[in-house]
Subunit: 171 residues, 2 copies
Amino acid sequence: MKLYTLIFHDMTTITFEPIGIIHTPFLSIDNMPIQPMGAENIIATIELNKQYVEGLKDLDGFSHLTLIYFLHQVDGYQLSVTPFMDSQSHGIFATRSPKRPNAIGISTVKLISINENILTIEEADMLNGTPLLDIKPFFPQFDNRTQVKAGWLDDKWHPNNKNHRSDNRFK
Amino acid sequence: MKLYTLIFHDMTTITFEPIGIIHTPFLSIDNMPIQPMGAENIIATIELNKQYVEGLKDLDGFSHLTLIYFLHQVDGYQLSVTPFMDSQSHGIFATRSPKRPNAIGISTVKLISINENILTIEEADMLNGTPLLDIKPFFPQFDNRTQVKAGWLDDKWHPNNKNHRSDNRFK
């Protein structure tokens, strides 16, 4: 298991460690779903480090989890990107493209089952071998939003976008 | 500005840097809103590092942003916690409590305005001085979920929970 150390350059140090690894069918950054909405029926497993199993107590009552993870195959970043759903460029923070200054991804997935340290999930849209940083339970009263305006994404949205797949532009 | 270095202990190294700092009215970990829903009318600012301003292009079309940040005042973690909304303990991953193996927070806030590198936001529920790691545009088609079951949170939910404030149990 890899360890991460987070060093503040004023010499304060925090140690960061992936809490587990996500095993998915996606072996390459291209031809992947671009969001969980495109990953219906995609089953994956989280292999949680066994030392954290106690932290899963009562998680089985939740239908959805938000995963926070490293985009471990993304190299460097771009401040302007042309995302998969558009032919025009936008600022990276106005997109969900992976080539971000800090390569952190979030995905809300369905929880199917928990068996000791193995969580089976559905709608996984991340690469195989992704280092997992956190699991948060999804709670509509905290996480859903209404009366949202979503700029260029509203303009470009079409239900068929669900079927969009990635290419290798952000490799 | 502090820098973070992420070191894989197999000697692969990633450099991690906060993209900015969040300035809020909350100077102490106790007596804070426990989620953005409790932070109505709380105005805060994000001071983005100027080098990233290009990445904000077109973000002003969005009404909501999901912020990813460090819970920089949380020391260590607990696998079992009694969260603010319950008197019984749960596994840390079945709660949104801050004392997590990796002290990463997410909050979806309202975007009020952008002026060069300063973003004014509403519904900020994080401590003053929080190091920001990422800004993602909130998009209902990606981020909202229906038909959710939320275990103990469903059982304990009451609209008055909006007004819950933190204490210092996770200091």
